[in-house]
Symmetry: C3
Subunit: 389 residues, 3 copies
């Protein structure tokens, strides 16, 4: 007897992306613009196809599963992976035990308190920058789904091989989660630094929601290298909240991410890169639609101690969603990004208007960062349709 | 709330393929036969698994989606891609706007007016030859689903990244479609021939159907290279029709495809290869079954202007489908191909009995085309079962 | 009109694996332990997602299809293949004709008469050793789903490109199956040993089930090389049975596998490696749960005729399944493996506690087999949840 729901989202639109790079330091000033127009998926909500179900086991106990695949619906991408979520749960009065691949505990605030729900050109700048860190620090080997930090944005957005515990509802509005993801590396007897902790994730999130208010604090730690003398961890701390005034719902998030390295040099000292950011914005209902706006900034402080080695990036996004029904909507979004001293960290700070999950889906206009050029600004537009089923 | 339909086709059978190659020009005459017997999918209808749904938005408006994956059910191929169709639609009194991956506007006539519905050894010869052109002119890089002309039969059969508009029903039997597929290439300022148009598709189709009659004209243009002085486009023009006399339904299609190149040589002139073909055939109901037959020819005229550089290929196909129910049928088909002067263009004109989509699914008996050999003839049989669900 | 069922299993748990290797022959004695802890899928039942359906065609005839994909739910693996089963059937009073990818006829006894249902650390040792043979003798080229013996455990557990016939029910408890899988290789005229038989599988199984008793005999033959003078086949013969006494259900299987080679040397003689094994065990209901236990042994006799070139392996497994409902259960299993003279055939006899299908899913603790070391023993634990839907 089957008891499952097949569900999903199809979101397609036309997007235009444009990036501007400029020379710095030298003369004369040069500038290069790169742009493209694409048929884009997921401009308002992530295209997906999933299977889920629950079973009432009596006594307040329930079992449930959730399999959710991303869809690259512009090019006919299939469901070769349930990379968005693949979990088995046992829940009861004690809360929920959840096993498998899921959002990290420390990513939820980036998503829940983003006026643009981490999709399309308006995507939370904090999420984009920090996904860039995760991707740039990942090793070349191993795929997105290999668990842990192997590649892509894993361990910042999502993690494989995770065991999570969620508090039950009914605690006066308090909610919370702790999560641990196995590194799964092999321990060999008589070998130093075995097993490697690479790929391990540990995190937690606590929040309080009541009536129009919602606020949550989260922390997560990903191990990139555990062997002495060159350990490296990415640590993420963030606090987010929203308040629904009725005429307008306001959102805000503050985020602090550390890339902490135990340097291996002769006078090796701990060196830590810091990425501190925030996003603030609103959703304002207007008839059958919603106006959305956000402003965000992330500051990069280089851990090398040298002067003038920092950078920063700003993002301003404005959009409108027109609901044709609860399931179907038209949307338009425009966003502008400005970057200062991007040459100090072009890989992470040279963010494009694209959403965090899209680089793997289609080619994108990047910045020119060689020949004395640095990323300066970017503009993006999305026009599309979202249909949930 | 889910509102989708899961649907599909499973088609499996046993097929035998045999190809004959002969030496040409020199002496003594030599001949090589290659053959194989396989468990084959899709001999009568393409094996597939899909998800689709529609939502009534009121006022005549509707949203709909369609995700359809090919199934290599002989070897357990899964739904790693929705390469057959992946679209999101908004339709209303104005017609239908459709976004995503779909048949090209110019391929429909090959399928609709083929007595064998472009499946199995009886497949429309026009579709096979022209898919060979698309595959042979595609660059080695990029996958089938990468959009545009990157590889395989893309841009002839199907295209990714497309925006289509369909006329609404109720126009006195007239129907029609225009389609544009983005190339998605990056434009870089200050760079000649940027962006490349490679991968762009544009096409249209108009037709009229009333009672027993149906006729349609289509044109499509795919850009392979857009940079001067060596542009190249594949242009496809075809006209098809069918008429149902009751005792027999007759089909016909005429097709003309051009591979047009702006040559880059010193006295570079435009050089155009021409592929002109037709298919004609019948479907004749006999009790619970249908007898199917078709004859087709494609002539290749080499654009290089040299004498004796042309080739041609014929195909005769005969089959019977025995319906056990509306959803399940047994079928048998036999087809014979004859090739003249195949050494002039063995890659395109050396067609085997296989259907257009199968080369990617299982190994096939090919022709010997080295050592002074040319493709001469091929025979194929299919015996199988088709079950729709 | 759709008439299909979406079904599946999600099984997730935490497993620990540990292997011990020891030096042999030389001095001094050395020992290496390798271990890992993982989030594991399929500890009690194989995680899967499938689509199946049947159609009543009248007159006792029916059509049916079955598509079943494995799920690596710990890391979000998707349904890129229906590698577990992909079949189309026509059944009636005559029995069932089944086309596609499926279990081999000769594997069923390994599964049906295993107290641990070939899943988790308790998996039937006979199945593990023989899958190791299939994997180690497969060529490097070709994927798991390529049909025949191309790679992995294909042709022992499952086969692609198969035609099967099953006896109908109602024959006084007798049941049976014959199966042939096409090699699909191309035959080239005038070429010796063409086509190659490599990838061909042929097998049969007959059994009798009545009331508490069930017994079956099976034989299968896979062709690895068919060309003279170095042909090679893997031949599998097994007999299994179970008897349900009510308070306890007993299981037993005897298996004999031959790796038979026509050697190509000057005095080339037929050389045959022999793998003879058995498994015996019980399932004992205890309230809402079941205690499971099994003991198994496989002996390897090297066909080279040299003294002291044999090896053997034992496995003892104990487990408990606690059913929360018909669909959901908690389980725990522990298993210990002991290996004698493993250096004589470490690839095949150096089995770990893992189930047969897992090597492809996650990294595993292997034995050290270089530097004079041989596999000696292994221990594994599974704790998890299985949920069927």
């Amino acid at each position: 007897q089957s008891s499952l729901t097949v569900f999903g989202v199809m979101d397609a639109g036309v997007s235009h992306y444009s990036t501007k790079s400029r020379s710095w330091g030298g003369t004369p000033a040069r500038q290069v613009t790169q742009s493209q127009t694409v048929l884009s998926p997921s401009g308002y909500a992530s295209s997906r196809l999933g299977f889920r179900g629950t079973e009432d086991l009596g006594g307040g106990l329930a079992a449930g599963f959730w399999l959710e695949a991303p869809l690259a619906n512009d090019t006919g991408g299939g469901i070769a992976n349930f990379g968005r979520r693949s979990t088995l749960s046992l829940s009861g009065p004690f809360g929920e035990l959840r096993l498998g691949r899921d959002y990290t505990a420390s990513f939820w605030n980036d998503a829940v308190f983003d006026p643009f729900s981490v999709n399309g050109v308006g995507t939370n700048l904090v999420a984009v920058v920090n996904s860039n860190i995760a991707a740039s620090r990942a090793l070349a080997t191993g795929g997105l789904l290999n668990g842990g930090l192997s590649a892509g944005t894993d361990s910042y957005l999502r993690t494989s091989n995770a065991v999570s515990y969620f508090l039950p509802p009914g605690l006066g509005g308090f909610y919370g989660q702790v999560q641990y993801a196995f590194h799964e590396n092999v321990k060999t007897s008589g070998t130093t630094d075995s097993p490697s902790g690479r790929g391990r994730y540990a995190g937690a999130r606590v929040g309080w929601a009541s009536g129009p208010a919602d606020v949550a604090l989260a922390y997560g730690e990903s191990t990139l290298v555990s062997a002495a003398p060159a350990g490296e961890k990415i640590k993420s701390l963030n606090l987010g909240g929203s308040y629904d005034f009725g005429a307008v719902k306001v959102f805000g998030e503050w985020s602090s991410v550390r890339d902490a390295r135990d340097n291996a040099g002769l006078f090796g000292t701990r060196s830590t890169d810091r990425y501190d950011g925030f996003v603030a914005g609103v959703n304002m209902p207007v008839g059958p639609g919603v106006i959305r706006a956000s402003f965000a900034r992330v500051n990069f402080k280089n851990g090398n101690g040298l002067p003038n080695s920092d950078a920063s990036v700003d993002k301003l996004a404005l959009g409108y969603v027109h609901n044709l029904s609860r399931r179907t909507a038209l949307y338009a979004t425009v966003a502008r990004i400005g970057i200062r001293n991007g040459h100090n960290n072009p890989t992470v700070m040279g963010v494009t208007p694209l959403v965090v999950s899209l680089p793997a889906i289609f080619p994108q206009a990047a910045y020119v960062t060689t020949g004395g050029m640095e990323p300066r600004s970017a503009i993006g537009y999305d026009f599309g349709i979202r249909h949930a089923f």
